[in-house]
Symmetry: C2
Subunit: 305 residues, 2 copies
Amino acid sequence: MENIISMKHLYDFQLIEAVARTGSMRRAAEDMNLTGSALNRRIRRFEEDFGFAIFERLPGGVRLNPAGELLLHHYRGARSDLARVRSQVADLSGERRGHVSIACSQALTPYFLPEQIARYRAQHPGVTFAVKVGDRVQAEEQLATFSTDLALVFEPIYLVDFEVIQCVPQQIHAILAADDPLAEKPELRLRDVLTRPCVLPSAQYGVRHLLGLAARKRRWELQPVVESDSFELIRHYALHERAIGFQIPIGLKSVADTGLVFRPLSEADVPVGNLFLGQKQGRTLPVASARFAMQIAGAIVDYAG
Amino acid sequence: MENIISMKHLYDFQLIEAVARTGSMRRAAEDMNLTGSALNRRIRRFEEDFGFAIFERLPGGVRLNPAGELLLHHYRGARSDLARVRSQVADLSGERRGHVSIACSQALTPYFLPEQIARYRAQHPGVTFAVKVGDRVQAEEQLATFSTDLALVFEPIYLVDFEVIQCVPQQIHAILAADDPLAEKPELRLRDVLTRPCVLPSAQYGVRHLLGLAARKRRWELQPVVESDSFELIRHYALHERAIGFQIPIGLKSVADTGLVFRPLSEADVPVGNLFLGQKQGRTLPVASARFAMQIAGAIVDYAG
DNA sequence: ACATGTGGTTCCTAAAAGGAACCGCTATTG
DNA sequence: CAATAGCGGTTCCTTTTAGGAACCACATGT
């Protein structure tokens, strides 16, 4: 998966990464299909070449020291840059192959991303995709450690090392049964929905965060009857108990004919959130990723309108 | 020199760079102390691992193809980034060692840089320096290929990939004998000096460029009696024939007691040039280089005032 | 036509890396 | 408290890999 690149000169770094991950030379050795003694010798020799120890030896295992952290970050950067070079070389050889990895929120999985990926692959069948779903913190981490090329996140937190490619506003929508009396209003107030049973995403998600802000401002408290990190569960549960779920509109096109409707919350009550498409600051992306980024940058603008 | 870092995993790239430099596998093999057959095998195996050929095989030698150019640029970036990591690790080990490489114009060599380097080394004796003198084009090239950390150039041309750290104006000064009648004026006009025998830097230098611009505007032509790429020769020749040389003030502190004086040209005649201190766009410099950059950034501002 | 240079290949030897067993240590556990 | 299990580190020996020398096919320039 990641080892597609795995050129030989980076083998030492792969070993170091494995040791750092497992916290033990012997376990890492098993992972990498060699014996503990061999791995130990490689690590020690590497440290000698490098000039500094990169692991703390503890009883019961090893751990990266600060020097090792710096070094591992360098390796991840170098590896991703080599992948970019390989991609550019493949591109100028006319191969039109490549690989795109994107970290995104769950809201993008039911409708938006499948459609976009299919559209892209229709033009470039040689390009493969890796979609890593997670909350906004995980997305930013994966960007920082070169684990992903792109991130598409709603209301990211830190935005350090995050280069914004595109940013579109997304007002939170309430999801309710089609025959719910509230469904007749074109726009819902916060007091309309918070007096009803609510199904909310868990705390780490941006939708929950914005709803929490809006509620706290009015000295209310969010009291979800169901709380989940599965947006799919939230949507389906809204139908079962006639409870109210929440989501951003880009994730809602698909609920149209499932007995559910969605209505925006009033901007006077809940602040508008932003959906960010970004990459790691300063990176040059592989060609396939860069092209795909351009495509969805345009697409999210269309969806927002 | 550059191989201070030379960790083992970059050996293949060092070989590739040697082949690219010499244009021949056998000559590169000699340089790197191995035989042609061994080197050839390594290159071919590397290309197989990488997935693409990186050399064009011509009768009479080899040459990097576009893929190879991309790859070599990646390598130079990775190498310099590893050097930075090593520097940071050394720094957090309290070693206060390091190496600073700077490309600069000749104007900085007689007085400014020696003083600055001495001042820095007085505080950090473990830090070594490499000063590469050249014209402004060479300085920018060296920055782009990671051959130098810093560049201090007068009137750089392209400024692509050039991250400006500091920029100070420098008005061109005329250099003349202390007993020259013109020396009595505090400021000289262009017509005063161009009617006299002139000693000019050659075309690639910024001083010549600005003088040429000013002259062409008035439909005059520069007709130097002596033209040289040695600023030292220009200074000394001014004394011998009582000709007029040109230089920027930061390079002139040292001529005070050599029978020469310097007077600024009027800003109405010759546009003010700029002395730029810069690094490669987006790079994180090794600690020693970053600290030295901060020092001279302050120093050139003082000199300009 | 020849000598000289090139990249590429083969065969064989030299060097480097890996595997298995063992050492000294520490934390856990009966 | 002693036995045990797991850890990093070391040693010895085997396996694998890389390097050296000679050679080939080819192109160039005398």
